[in-house]
Amino acid sequence: MSEAFAAPDPKELRDHQIGGPELTARLARTWGTKRGLIGALSTVDHKIIGRRYIITAFLFLFLAGLAAVAMRLQLARPESRLIGPDLYNQLFTMHGTTMMFLFAVPVMEAFAVYLVPLMVGTRNIAFPRLNAFSYYVYLFGGLLIWVAFMLNIGADIGWFGYVPLSGPEFSPGKRADIWAQMITFTEVSALAVAVEIVVTVLKQRAPGMTLDRIPLFVWSVFVTSFLIIFAMPAVMIASTFLILDRLIGTHFFNPAEGGDALLWQHLFWFFGHPEVYIIFLPATGMVSAIITTFSRRKTFGYLALVLSLIATGFLSFGLWVHHMFTTGLPQLGASFFTASSMMIAIPNGIQIFCWIATLWDGRPVFRTPLLFVLGFFFIFVAGGLSGLMLASVPLDTQVHDTYFVVAHFHYVLIGGAVFPLLGAVYYWYPKIVGRLMSERIGCWHFWLAFIGFNLAFFPMHITGLMGMPRRVYTYQPEMGWDNLNLLSSVGALIFFFSFVVFLWNTITSARSGSLSGDNPWDAGTLEWATSSPPPPQNFDRIPVVTNREPLWAEREMLPVAAGLSVENRELIVSTVSEARADLREASPEPSIWPLLAAIATGITFISSIFTPWAVVWGSCIVGVMLIGWFWPKGSKEDEE
C-alpha cells in the first residue's frame, strides 16, 4: 500500500486512493458485464449467473408441477382413462427427475452462487468461468430430457431408474439413455458449483470472518458442497455402468452374466440419501437466516447448529440401506441402518430446538418469510417424525413403496426445503431486485400453499396404509381409495394455484413493488451491507468483520479493508480459519469459452447416447475448447 503517496497511475489505481461515486463507477466498469448478446453469454458475474440459475430452476419446478397436476387428474378417479400407462410412467419419471436433479439441488446451489460471495464479503465466486460453464451444462441437461419428453421419448423408468427395468432388455430404445445422460450433465454442473462454494468459503472470506463468524446459511451450503463432492461420484458410477450396459453390452447389472441388480440400488442410494440432505441442509441455512432476522435476536446455539449441520452431513452417508429394507438383506445389517437412520433425528432435533429458542428469546416480526418458516416447522416436523417409521425395518416393510412414503417425503422435501426456499425468495428478493414483494399477495400465497399442500399430501398417509402402492397409473374402484385420492387431487390443484399466485407476485413486484432500500429487514449479515441490487463489484471496499452479525454490531459504519486494484479484477484471499487477509488475487475476466466448452460437452454427452465413439471425438472437441479457455493471456501480475 506504499503507492498511496505517489501520484495515482490509472493502471495502478487502488481503492483507497479515490472514493465515493467515482470509486463505485470505476469498479462497476472493471467488474461489469459487457452489453449485447456476446457480453451476456460471456459473463462471469456470480449474481447474473445465480439469477439465471434461480429462474431456470423455478422454470423446471413449474414444468415438474404441471406433470404432477396431470398425474393427480389421472388419479382423481379410479380406472380413469385420461392418461395411459406409457404417458403416466413418463410423467412420474419426469416429475421426480426434474424435482430432484433439475430443481431442488440446482435451486439451492443457485441461491448459494448468488448469496455466498455477498455473505462472505468478496467480489466474485471462486472459479467464475467454471460457474458459467456449470450453468450452461445444467441448462443443456435439463433441455435434453424435456425436449426428449416433448418428442415422446421421455424416460419412463422412474427417477431411481432401477435395473433391470432400465437395462437393455426391458427398456429398449433411447429413453433410459437420455435419462442416464441427463444425470451426467447435472452431476458435472453440481460438482463444479460445489467446488466453487468450498473454495469461496475457505479462501475468500472478508478479513475478520473467522470460522465462528460465518453466517449459518454459508455454513449450510459449505457442508452441502462436501456432501455433493462425496455423494455424486456414486451416482456418476451407477449411471455410467448403466450406459455401458446399454450401449456396449457390459453386464454390471445383469445377474445372468454375473452382474447384480442390487448393486445399482446400493450405488444409487449411496448418492440418493445424501441427496435428500443436499436439498435439506441449505434450507436449514435459510431458516436460520430468516429466524434470526425476524426474531431481531442473534441465533441461539450457533455452535450447536453448525455441529448439527456437520453431524447430519456425516450421518447422511450411513443411511442409504433404509431404502432397501425389503430387498432381503441380512437382518443384523438392516438393524444397524435402523439405528443410524433414527440417530439423524438428534441433530435435526437440536436444530429445531435452537430455532424455537431463538424465536423465544426475540420478538418475532410476522412478515411473509417468517410465515413460510412457521409453515416449515408445522410440515417438516411431521415429515421428519413419520421418517422414523420408515427407519424401522419391520414398519418399513408395510409402508415402503406406498403412498405413505410419497406423503412422508413430500412432507420432508416440500415442508423441509420448498417452504424455507419460498421464504428465502420473499426474504432475498429485495436484495436481488431492489423491490419488496407484495406482503398481501404473499400472505395469500402462503395460506393457499399451506392448505393446498396438507390437503394434497396428508390423505396420502392413509391411502398408503390402506394398501395403495406408489407409481400406479390407476387403481380399481373396489379398493376404496377413490375419495382420499380425489381429496389429494383437489389439494394438489390448490397447491399448484398457490404457485401461480407466487409467480404473479414475483412478476408484478419486479415492476411495481415498493423500493426496498439496502437493508429492508434490518438484517445483520453482509449481503445487506451493499446496495440492493448489488453493483457488479458487490462492495466498493471489502468489509472487515468484527461480529457474526456485522451490521448489528457496527450500526454506524462497517470497517473496511482497502488496497485492491480499481482497474483490474482483484479480490482478497484470506486464511482458512482466521480469515486474515493474505493475498491479492486476480479474478478471471468474462469469457465466451465456458459457453463453447459447455456446448462441446453437451454434444459429446448427447452423441454418446448413440455411439460410444462420440466419447473419443467429443473429448477432442472439448479439449480444443478447454485449450482456448485456459490459453495464457499474460495478465499484469504474470508479467511482474
Binding site: 433391470p164 427395468l165 433425528a345 420478538r363 418475532p364 416436523v381 419391520p394 373396489e478 448489528w552
Partner: protein, 334 residues
C-alpha cells in the same frame, strides 16, 4: 361388452374407513398384526412429540415480550437457562429415539424368527402377473397356478420369492409386510392367516407399464378345504365333454394360445404365460384386473391391450363363433 370389475368380492369384505381387503390397518395374520401394533406405538409417541413441539413453537411466538434493545446483547442467566432447556429436550429426543429403536428391534426379532412353514410355495413375479408353484417332496404333487395363492388357515406358509424379469415386490398388507422379488436372487417370506378370507395383495415395486394391474389373492381356508383344493389343482385338466367345449379345445390348440400357455394333461406346454390348467376355478383374470366371468374372459381374449395396455398377451384373431367355444372350453377348466 362392459368390463365388470371384481366388485363381487366386495360382498365378502365390506369396506369402511381403514378397513379393506388390502389394508395394513385391517390385519388378519400374526405378522401384519404385530406390525399394526408397532405402527400404533410409533404413531402415539410421534404424534405426542409433534404436538408438544408445535405447542413450544406457538409459545415462542408470543409477541408481548419487550424486544431486546440490542439484538446482540448478552444475558448470561437467561442463556444458561435456555441452554439447560434445549439440552434437556435434546436428551429427551435421544431417549425417545433409543426407545423406538428398541421397539423396532424387538418386533423385528419376533417377525423374522425361525422359519417353520410346512407348506412351501414359490412365487415368481413376472411382467405383470404372479406364477405360483406349490412345492412338495413328491414331484407328482407339485403344481403350478397363477395370481391366486390358497393357504390353510392358522398355519405358517413359506413363500420363496423370485423374479423372471425385473424387480417386483410381493405385498399382502393385511397378512405381512412386503419383500422384493429380485432376478438372480431368492427371498423367503413367511406368512400366516388367522381367519378365513380373501386377502388382496399387489406388486409394490415399479415394474413397467402394468405395475398397477399386478394383483394377487391369498385365499385362506380350513385345512380340509385347502387339501381338497390342492388335490383338485394337482389333477390334470379334465378333457372336454360336450361339443361346444370340444370345439373350443380345438380352437385353443390351433391358435397361438398354446405358444405361451400350459394346460396340464394336454399338449399345450407354453411357459411364457400363466398356467391355464384350472383357470376356470380362479376368482380373477389378468392378475386381479377382472372378475372371472364369461364376459370378462371373452373380452380379455379379444382385446387384452385395451384392458391392460402393454401386457405381453398379444392380440389374436378369433372368429366370434370360435370365441364362444373357446370361452366355454376355458371356463370349464375348473
Amino acid at each position: 361388452m362392459r368390463l365388470r370389475p371384481v366388485g363381487i368380492l366386495l360382498l365378502v369384505f365390506p369396506l369402511t374407513g381403514c378397513n379393506g381387503w388390502q389394508s395394513a390397518l385391517d390385519t388378519h395374520g400374526p405378522g401384519a398384526g404385530s406390525l399394526e401394533t408397532l405402527f400404533w406405538i410409533f404413531l402415539g409417541v410421534l404424534a405426542t412429540v409433534w404436538i408438544l413441539t408445535m405447542l413450544a413453537l406457538v409459545a415462542s411466538l408470543r409477541t408481548r415480550r419487550r424486544p431486546h434493545a440490542d439484538p446482540l446483547s448478552e444475558d448470561p442467566a437467561a442463556n444458561r437457562q435456555m441452554t439447560g432447556t434445549v439440552g434437556a429436550l435434546v436428551a429427551a429426543t435421544a431417549v425417545i429415539v433409543l426407545a423406538l429403536t428398541g421397539f423396532s428391534y424387538a418386533y423385528q426379532k419376533r417377525l423374522m424368527g425361525e422359519q417353520d412353514g410346512t407348506l412351501t410355495i414359490k412365487v415368481t413375479g413376472q411382467q405383470w402377473w404372479w406364477q405360483v408353484e406349490y412345492e412338495d417332496p413328491q414331484p407328482s404333487r407339485t403344481f403350478t397356478t397363477a395370481n391366486e395363492i390358497h393357504i390353510p388357515v392358522g398355519e405358517p406358509v413359506r413363500l420363496k420369492l423370485e423374479s423372471s424379469d425385473v424387480i417386483h415386490s410381493f405385498w399382502v398388507p393385511s397378512l405381512i409386510g412386503k419383500t422384493d422379488n429380485i432376478p438372480g436372487r431368492q427371498n423367503v417370506l413367511e406368512l400366516q392367516a388367522d381367519r378365513e378370507g380373501i386377502y388382496r395383495g399387489q406388486c409394490a415395486e415399479f415394474c413397467g407399464w402394468q405395475h398397477a394391474h399386478m394383483g394377487v389373492l391369498i385365499i385362506a381356508k380350513p385345512k380340509a378345504e385347502f387339501e381338497s383344493w390342492r388335490n383338485q389343482q394337482i389333477a390334470s385338466a379334465s378333457p372336454a365333454s360336450d361339443d361346444e367345449r370340444k370345439r373350443g379345445e380345438q380352437v385353443f390348440f390351433t391358435s397361438p394360445c398354446i405358444m405361451c400357455h400350459s394346460i396340464r394333461g394336454t399338449s399345450a406346454g407354453g411357459k411364457v404365460g400363466p398356467d391355464l390348467t384350472h383357470v376356470g376355478s380362479r376368482l380373477t383374470l389378468a392378475a386381479g384386473t377382472l372378475q372371472n366371468t364369461r364376459g370378462n374372459l371373452a373380452a380379455w381374449i379379444v382385446d387384452p391391450q385395451r384392458i391392460k395396455p402393454g401386457a405381453n398377451m398379444p392380440l389374436i384373431q378369433v372368429e366370434p363363433r370360435d370365441l364362444n367355444a373357446l370361452v366355454s372350453y376355458l371356463e370349464g377348466l375348473k
